[in-house]
């Protein structure tokens, strides 16, 4: 497969992600061409909504127009990670130190409760839409989603969750979100 037009930029981001370990964030999996990433996110402080043992998996897909265009980002369940693995199994991920942990904690993967996160994993976050700028990075996204979880104190889904999930496109980028509430 041809390399991404901005491979050099993505490679740099990737190296930085591997070198500077961010607390609570682990790169679980990525494709060889660096266009498909899965991160595991842990909330820093357990509260009444998120327990420290909960695991959330965030899928980040680099679109062909990255970084001009924002990536496709959504929460996924862990069994989807295994599927991803099967797709390119000749690729050995040596940077994946926590592989054993993953296997043990299979059952724990969830879509986090949050008033801006739909139960299908889609995220309503302005950074992923109109506030995206080519100077943002994968790291920016992961960090801002982690802080979105850290600062949340509402154990609820978005008000239109049932309806949205029923008719939502597979790709969350096809949804035009209205960023109505910046307070949460």
């Amino acid at each position: 497969m041809a390399k991404h037009l901005f491979y050099r930029r993505i490679l740099k981001e990737y190296k930085a992600l591997v070198e500077n370990k961010l607390p609570g964030i682990t790169l679980v999996k990525h494709t060889e061409d660096l266009t498909d990433f899965v991160f595991r996110i842990k909330v820093n402080h357990a509260n009444h909504i998120y327990s420290q043992s909960d695991l959330y998996h965030l899928s980040i897909r680099i679109t062909p127009d990255y970084p001009v265009d924002s990536p496709q980002v959504q929460f996924i369940l862990f069994n989807e990670v295994i599927d991803l693995d099967a797709e390119d199994d000749e690729h050995d991920n040596d940077e994946d130190e926590d592989e054993d942990d993953d296997l043990i904690e299979v059952g724990q993967s969830k879509i986090p409760m949050h008033p801006h996160i739909y139960s299908n994993g889609h995220i309503c976050l302005n950074l992923l839409g109109e506030d995206w700028s080519p100077a943002c990075s994968i790291e920016t996204i992961v960090l801002s989603i982690q802080s979105m979880l850290n600062s949340n104190d509402k154990n609820e889904r978005p008000p239109d969750d049932v309806n949205y999930v029923k008719y939502a496109p597979v790709n969350p980028k096809k949804t035009t979100f209205v960023y109505h509430d910046d307070a949460v």
Binding site: F6, R8, R9, L11, K12, D65, P67, V68, D69, S133, P134, A135, C136, T140
Partner: protein, 518 residues
């Protein structure tokens, strides 16, 4: 030429050139506009409208306001004035008020440094690493705004190309930096020959979003039309009053309905057009055919079409045996075959079937004619393209003084061409109209008007086709000129008959002499 353009004052008033933003307008039309027919602007249905093209629109609505801003804020450059204006939705007064009231607030919101201190730079730099693409350049061209965030031109180009469609102001790529890229720099960066790319995109978005504007629906037509004064058609969209159908025209003189955004569909009112198009699109008629020509098996309900003679049916699906005539089980009535004693009971079913068969036939009758004229219209257009080409060559000859020919000799052709197209279009829609028309003496008058129009349209179409046939290859122009009178007469007759038909229909519908059944 006069009837369309003389009404736009800006054509003459704003020819001045400033920083290359104004350029003289040259949207010469393919068909030379001719005598006004009955619905050019203001003339039709109490509807006032302007046909626009995008460049004069931008000049008139956006660029002409630059001067008034710069009168009050003399230090502002054209680009700064454009940014301020676009932010304030092209209201110069608001820009000026806001500037003198709270200048810093306005400038911050627009992403501008203090007026006159903008320092946007294209530079060639050595040993540069662009933080967007992460390429390391030995030497490259970069662009930066007053904030001094430098990025390579390639990245800027991609960024602008992807964000320009929205028509919104474009900010520096750095996160949380709100400086705005000026309009003229955008053109420089994307290197497009056409100027004012952002204003173009902005105008398109503006037109799309406004209910006062509609794009001309004709293929490849770039024109759009603004409603200046409505005749109140919006208040009752289901009205049968054809005199209120908002037919407008674009600069290329394509007539279209402002409500349906569909070609001129007179004499049909909008609601009938909607019904008709839906009817033609969906398979409601297929359903009617099935109803008329098949029975469903009385036991398992699967549809069965009889292709043989015998009425003793055996369903392939469930093997149920029944009589095709009365749909009763075969076992119960086989001694009374041919006198099928259950006939009376099923009479209502028969009636229903006949009715839907009839309605299908009726629909097909009108639809066939509607469709034939639609495809004939395409044939006409091919013929007309050839004639148009001939006219063009003729004019070139005239230019080169090869022959002593005059423009007047051939001026009738574009008129005749339009006559044919317009007549055919009206004719096409009369069949949709007739389908929904209930029977009456006035309906018969309508039909005879329709026949007259039909005949004239076909005559002219045939004449044109004959003229350009291969036998006449070498001297087409001469032959066309020879038939000049005939062509003029026919095309005028088409227009007259079309007008009679439409205005007569409008009147009769208004007086409730023609009624619809739908």
């Amino acid at each position: 030429m006069s009837d369309i353009e003389s009404d736009f004052e800006y054509e003459d008033d704003f020819e001045g050139s400033e920083d290359g933003l104004y350029e003289s307008e040259d949207d010469s039309q393919s068909l030379v506009p001719t005598q006004e027919d009955n619905y050019l602007r203001g003339e039709y249905n109490n509807l006032e409208y302007y046909p626009w093209t995008i460049k004069p629109f931008i000049r008139y609505n956006f660029q002409d306001k630059i001067a008034s801003v710069r009168n009050h804020i003399p230090l502002a450059t054209v680009d700064e004035a454009l940014i301020l204006l676009q932010y304030k939705k092209w209201q110069p007064d608001e820009v000026i008020n806001a500037y003198f009231d709270k200048p810093q607030e306005l400038l911050n919101a627009c992403g501008l440094p203090a007026i006159g201190t903008s320092n946007n730079q294209f530079e060639t730099v050595k040993k540069f690493e662009c933080s967007i693409c992460c390429e390391k350049f030995r030497t490259t061209r970069v662009y930066s705004l007053t904030c001094k965030h430098k990025y390579c031109l390639d990245c800027y180009m991609r960024y602008i190309q992807s964000s320009i469609q929205s028509g919104n102001l474009i900010k520096c790529m750095s996160t949380k930096c709100s400086y705005v890229v000026p309009h003229s720099d955008i053109d420089k960066i994307i290197g497009n020959k056409e100027e004012n790319q952002l204003l173009l995109a902005h105008a398109r978005a503006f037109i799309d979003a406004s209910s006062k504007f509609k794009w001309c629906p004709s293929t490849d037509c770039q024109g759009f039309t603004e409603i200046i004064k409505s005749n109140g058609y919006e208040s009752d969209l289901d009205s049968s009053d054809i005199s209120k159908v908002p037919i407008v025209s674009c600069v290329d003189r394509h007539e279209f309905c402002f409500n349906c955004n569909y070609e001129n569909h007179l004499p049909c009112p909008c609601w009938i057009v909607k019904l008709w198009i839906k009817k033609c699109q969906d398979d409601s008629e297929t359903a009617n055919w099935i109803e008329a020509n098949t029975h469903s098996c009385p036991k398992c309900d699967s549809s069965i079409e009889k292709n043989g003679g015998c009425n003793h049916m055996t369903c392939k699906k469930c093997s149920h045996q029944f009589c095709w005539i009365c749909l009763g089980s075969w076992k119960e009535h086989n001694r009374d075959y041919f006198k099928c004693n259950k006939f009376k009971e099923s009479k209502s079913i028969e009636e229903r079937k006949n009715k839907s068969k009839l309605s299908l036939q009726r629909y097909l009758h009108f639809y066939k004619r509607f469709a034939i004229h639609e495809s004939s219209m395409k044939g006409d257009l091919r013929t007309l393209a050839i004639i148009h080409e001939i006219t063009r060559m003729y004019m070139e000859k005239r230019k080169n003084q090869e022959q002593n020919l005059s423009w007047n000799d051939i001026q009738f052709l574009p008129d005749a061409i339009r006559g044919l197209i317009v007549g055919r279009k009206t004719l096409k829609w009369t069949y949709c109209f007739a389908y929904y028309l209930s029977k009456s003496n006035f309906a018969q008058i309508f039909e005879s008007n329709q026949d007259f129009l039909n005949k004239t349209v076909e005559d002219l179409s045939e004449l044109f086709e004959k003229l350009i046939s291969k036998d006449n290859k070498d001297n087409v122009v001469d032959i066309i000129l020879k038939e000049k009178n005939k062509i003029i007469n026919l095309s005028e007759l088409i227009m007259t008959r079309k007008r009679t038909l439409v205005s007569g229909t409008i009147l009769n519908v208004q007086q409730d002499l023609l009624r619809f059944e739908a």
